[in-house]
Amino acid sequence: MSDVASQFYADEFERVESLLPGAGNIQLDDQRKKALEYFLAQGLPTTRQENWKYTSLAALEKKPLPLKREQDHVEPSLAEILEVAVLPQAEHRLVFVDGRFAPALSKHALAVGVRAGALSSRVADRPDEGLPLSSPNHCALVSLGLALSEDGLDLTIPAGVSIHSPILVMFVSASAGHSVFPASAIHLAEGARVTLVEQHIALHNESAFAQILTRVTLDQDADLTHVKLQVEGERTIHLADTEVDVAARAQYHSVVLALGASIGREDLRINLNASGAHADLDGAYLPRKRMHLDHHTTVRHVSPNCTSRQSYRGILDEAGRGVFNGRVVVEKDAQHTDAQQSNANLLLSENAEIDTKPQLEIFADDVKCSHGATVGQLDPAELFYLRSRGIDEAAARALVTFAFAARVLSSLESQEALYSSLRKALFTHLPGGSVLEDLSL
């Protein structure tokens, strides 16, 4: 292992090690060191690995970015944050700036017993518990994140608590040219219910690197709607690894909108661990210019009577490139599994490209599994119909494209404010979307 990036992050680790939350606690220090060693042994993933075949991290390999130094910190103003927030009116807002919790920009009025704040505080207060993020699933990037994470979201909703208005969590890149490693732990106890809106955004259009680690645990009958809006612009490398454990009758609903990164990669693994668990995954990716947006999902049906549905939609313009790899594993005991998957793509340019692959691994015999992938262009009959009603060609294209993408939001329709904000985010990032009129009707 030769590479520049490994040496670079080994040096960074040495520099920041003693500054990390809870540093000095032997167990914690050891956990971080081991993670770093694992990363150093593996190195960054390369396209020789099946899982990374279509997504090259050569840019990161060549030019790794440092963690931010304290003296470089510039706190954005609240006005700046609210201006870019997808839900500026959110009652509960937790803001992380360059990977660290920013209490002055955050506010919440959550019920007693709800813990919503900085994971660094929890780790500093109770270092003996270690990082509540460990994953049996070893991966070099996850290990790098574990070693270098300075902070992240700590969210625990106690049993039976239902939070009615969405919690907005903003990960803001304020100063360019840095690496951030936010790591978050989310736990919904029995019957808890919440909608979490995670927004990743940059206040600059320079290079940045984010390696994001998220671990979600849903106890039985819990219900989490997890929206992720990724809009960091064309020069950010955004790699996210999310693992979700879903207990009996609990529901995990993910809506991911990947709207802008030079390289964006979402690894989303869902484990349906007990009977009646359900996962609903909706996603849209809109690569344009030279963006590369990759979604790898794994839905693992461990127990009988679980259901999952995945629907991902790609809109690929200019030299944009998309990757969708949807894996469904039905384990031996997982009888009466119902697993659906679909991936539909709209290619708007000759230079755009999509690699889509379903991957079904079924070891039980009494299961219903379906999958389908399509790649198409805008339908000329639809465009003519709209034009024949006086809608000009550019608007007709934008409208049909928007309608195609917006379907991934349809499950959020009942949450009106969120739904309309996300539709707006979607159409402002859509090829030609600016010509669309107010879509609130």
Binding site: E382, S388, I391, E437
Partner: protein
């Protein structure tokens, strides 16, 4: 208002229209009848501006302008409206959004103020009631999952919202039961005025019981082979097209004489 002169057109090198001549004046209703495959939809589509046809000769003037030179959207804004034989489903775009965008595009073009949300809503609701439709359809995706009859009513709803100058109705009557046919005819008749003209493309005489045309033309194999008054449609119903086209398959059938 509309002057079609020696219009010839082909699709994929195959001649479809072989010299159409037709003049339509303001206030007139023309019925274009003819056997399947004779080129009726092709003519209507070319007038509305659909791509994919090669115009090999002739001209079409509309209100003194070269219609064939205008993109489809400009024709629509200038008052040309096509009610589709097969209305297109547009998933994800609601009917009300399309109606509002279409009405305002036309109003802007005429130098009128756009309708605000309230005025638009009360207007559209009134028209929906007039067409005996369910208000809920306004919030459904355009034509998606609509029955054949609902689609045709929806076309007429769009038409009466847009108040076109030249309406082209392509087989709006086909697939309608008698009640739907009455409602659709009511919609069409409500637009009759001295400033407007209509071309009704139809296979059957049935529609013409409710909307009396001023002229009837028979299109066969890409040519208008006969023109006359409303009595020509009745003649066609009795005799089929065979006496005109000389083709046995165009003889009257049960389907025609219902």
């Amino acid at each position: 208002m509309l002057h079609i002169k020696d219009l010839t057109a082909e699709v994929d090198g195959k001649p479809i229209l072989k010299g159409i001549n037709l003049t339509v004046n303001a206030g007139e209703i023309h019925a274009v009848m003819g056997p399947n495959g004779s080129g009726k939809s092709t003519l209507a589509s070319i007038l509305a501006g659909r791509d994919g046809y090669e115009i090999t000769g002739g001209s079409v003037m509309y209100q003194g302008k070269d219609l064939l030179d205008m993109p489809a959207e400009d024709r629509a804004r200038d008052g040309v409206f096509l009610a589709f034989q097969y209305p297109v489903e547009i998933p994800g775009v609601s009917n009300i959004y399309l109606l509002k965008a279409a009405v305002n595009a036309r109003r802007r073009h005429r130098g009128m103020q756009e309708l605000d949300a309230m005025d638009f809503l009360s207007l559209v609701k009134e028209k929906v009631r007039f067409m005996e439709m369910d208000e809920k359809m306004l919030y459904r995706a355009v034509n998606e999952g609509f029955s054949g009859g609902e689609k045709k009513r929806n076309e007429i709803l769009q038409m009466i919202m847009l108040e076109p100058t030249l309406a082209l109705l392509d087989e709006t009557d086909s697939g309608l039961d008698i009640d739907a046919l009455k409602v659709v005819s009511k919609g069409v008749n409500s637009l009759r005025s001295p400033e407007r003209a209509m071309i009704l493309v139809t296979h059957y005489q049935r529609l013409l019981d409710y909307i009396t045309p001023d002229y009837v033309h028979v299109l066969s194999a890409g040519r208008i082979i006969k023109s006359g008054g409303p009595e020509l449609a009745l003649e066609l119903e009795r005799q089929g097209y065979a006496w005109l086209t000389g083709d046995q398959k165009d003889a009257p059938s049960k389907g025609v004489a219902q």
